[in-house]
């Protein structure tokens, strides 16, 4: 079977997740991810005709809460845990680019 994932693919995924990986780590994770994908390929080989897709491992749906306001967190406490704040807001470094 052909290699299910290349080192370049792993580098791309790492970039999307903002992970800085060394060359050794890239090799290591390429091997590990290939094993995961190989397992997925095994599952894919099964005939699932007529089996509805599983959306969630729990056999429940419609877990809902009523639309009732509850007290929020204290702003000073929240902002105290941030690296920087200003005028009641979180202060973040310069953003490069418009919002998605």
């Amino acid at each position: 079977m052909a290699t299910p994932i290349s080192t370049a693919d792993v580098a791309h995924v790492a970039r999307l997740a903002r992970l800085a990986l060394t060359d050794e780590e890239l090799e290591q994770f390429t091997g590990q991810l290939a094993a995961v994908l190989a397992h997925a390929a095994d599952v894919e080989a099964l005939d699932t005709t007529g089996v509805p897709p599983t959306a969630h491992p729990l056999p429940i749906d419609n877990v809902l809460r009523d639309d009732v306001v509850v007290p929020c967190a204290d702003r000073e406490e929240v902002l105290a845990q941030a690296p920087a704040s200003e005028s009641g807001r979180f202060r973040v470094p310069r953003i490069l680019g418009e919002a998605p």
Partner: protein, 477 residues
């Protein structure tokens, strides 16, 4: 671009509309959903994305989404949530919970006021992002020194309505958003305020040679904050694309930013820079599977939509459903007054005209207007007990001070202007101006203006001049 080339091209538009829902709380936590509160006062571990916090779905947000889907003739179905991953400080979790391949509402349509249908691909639930303020000279991202983030809006429930590319002009696009906004407000799901950002519109715009079977390459335009800027942005963008194509160039698929001040769009990001969101199923949420009973209950409880109301007003007035007075009466929610007036025996057409003009002009007082009093004024006008000018005066006073229409008319001396009284005034004018009357009676029509002027003066301007002309001509025999 010349007029000749403009007609060779067809603009194709599909709109994506985000609406905030009027819930008391956010989508996945019990923080208040309030516009304009002090920054970061409506936040908690869930909407701040703190480790270990878990989302729990707001029942009312689901209900509102179902109302919207039903009003847009969608199939309301079982649906799933996904994580849309991206790194941006407006989303502290580094992902937005949205619906991806299985939205709660699919495949519907919206009818424009003129009856044309615009396809709705889907209307799904997702959470809003926080609000960032860029600090620096420009006030925009470029040139900012740093940014400040308020998470009050993070996690506020949204429904995104994705329309099909069925619109063909900026007028179409505006009519679509106008109608959609009215529908959203009618469902109670949204306040429809574009200025406050509770309704946001992105436009996918492409152009093609008229009759071409394939769609052109599209650009997505963002940052239109009003219907007017939506129209301007679409026209600018279509003209830009046509100019490029006529020069032999090609359109690159990209996201473009509308600058209201400069009146133009500019590149925000190209297709190559497009985000790879790595959607995957949200493991912390289970599916929404509305029962048939719930779907039916939502449909049964839906109030009449604007199109239904326009049809009813049009029927009562004997006008077309897209006639301006009909549209105005429904837009301003004046149709209950119409119904009350018609039920009290008033003429429908006259009532619609008075509502669309005088009552619309005094809209702040319209809620205090007694429907029976309004019906009485319209009734007096339709029985010619009041002229149009008099009816307007009475209505204006009724709106400002309330009271009894008959008493107001009497106080103004309007009651004397019944048709019988007008006849007496005409007798007097004829007696006072025998020479002019003789000339008029002999067939000299231009003297009519003089006689009418005398009648007008004698009645203090309150006579129904059409009626007076008819009476004069009848006297002439």
């Amino acid at each position: 671009m010349t007029a000749a080339t403009a007609t060779e091209w067809e603009t194709v538009i599909g709109l994506e509309v985000h609406t905030e829902l009027c819930t008391a709380t956010k989508l996945f936590c019990g923080c208040a959903n309030n516009f304009g509160d002090q920054p970061n006062t409506n936040v908690c571990p869930v909407c701040l994305g703190l480790p270990g916090s878990l989302p729990v779905l707001n029942r009312m947000a689901v209900e509102y989404a179902m109302r919207i889907g039903t009003a847009l003739h969608c199939t309301v179905q079982s649906s799933l949530f996904h994580r849309k991953n991206y790194f941006y400080p407006d989303m502290p979790k580094d992902y937005q919970i949205s619906q991806y391949d299985v939205p709660i509402n699919a495949d519907g349509w919206l009818a424009l006021p003129d009856g044309r249908r615009v396809g709705i691909e889907r209307a799904h639930i997702e959470e809003d992002t926080g609000k960032s303020t860029h600090v620096g000279e420009s006030g925009r991202i470029h040139g900012a020194d740093y940014s400040l983030v308020d998470y009050n809006r993070a996690g506020v429930p949204l429904v995104e309505i994705v329309g099909r590319p069925d619109l063909r002009s900026s007028e179409d696009a505006r009519a679509y958003v106008d109608e959609l906004r009215a529908i959203l407000v009618a469902t109670g799901a949204s306040d429809g305020k574009m200025e406050e950002g509770s309704l946001r519109v992105d436009a996918n715009v492409s152009v093609r040679r008229r009759g071409a079977p394939e769609l052109g390459t599209r650009c997505e335009i963002k940052n239109m904050n009003s219907l007017r800027s939506l129209g301007r942005a679409i026209e600018y963008e279509a003209a830009r694309q046509i100019a490029i194509l006529e020069d032999g160039g090609t359109i690159s698929q990209e996201t473009r930013h509308w600058d209201e001040t400069l009146g133009r769009t500019s590149t925000m990001r190209s297709k190559e820079e497009a985000y790879d969101y790595r959607y995957f199923p949200e493991p912390d949420l289970v599916p929404i599977a509305p029962s048939a009973e719930w779907v039916k209950a939502v449909a049964d409880a839906l109030p009449p939509m604007p199109a239904d109301r326009r049809a009813a007003v049009a029927e009562a007035a004997g006008m077309a459903p897209d006639a301006d007075p009909v549209v105005t009466v429904v837009r301003l929610d004046l149709d209950p007054l119409l119904n009350a007036a018609v039920a009290a025996g008033a003429d429908g057409e006259l009532a619609v005209k008075r509502l669309a003009n005088e009552v619309a002009a005094g809209l702040e007082q319209a809620s205090t207007l007694d429907p029976r009093a309004f019906a009485a004024v319209v009734g007096m006008e339709s029985r010619s007990e009041l002229t149009t000018a008099q009816a307007r005066t009475v209505l204006k006073e009724l709106l400002e001070h309330g009271g009894d229409p008959a008493a107001i008319a009497k106080a103004h001396g309007f009651e004397a202007m019944a048709a019988g009284a007008l006849s007496g005034v005409i007798d007097q004018v004829i007696a006072d101006n025998p020479g002019e009357w003789d000339r008029f009676a002999a067939g000299e029509d231009k003297v009519q203006g003089f006689l009418i002027g005398k009648i007008k003066a004698a009645t203090g301007g309150n006579a129904d001049l059409k009626e007076a002309s008819a009476l004069l001509r009848a006297r002439r025999g």
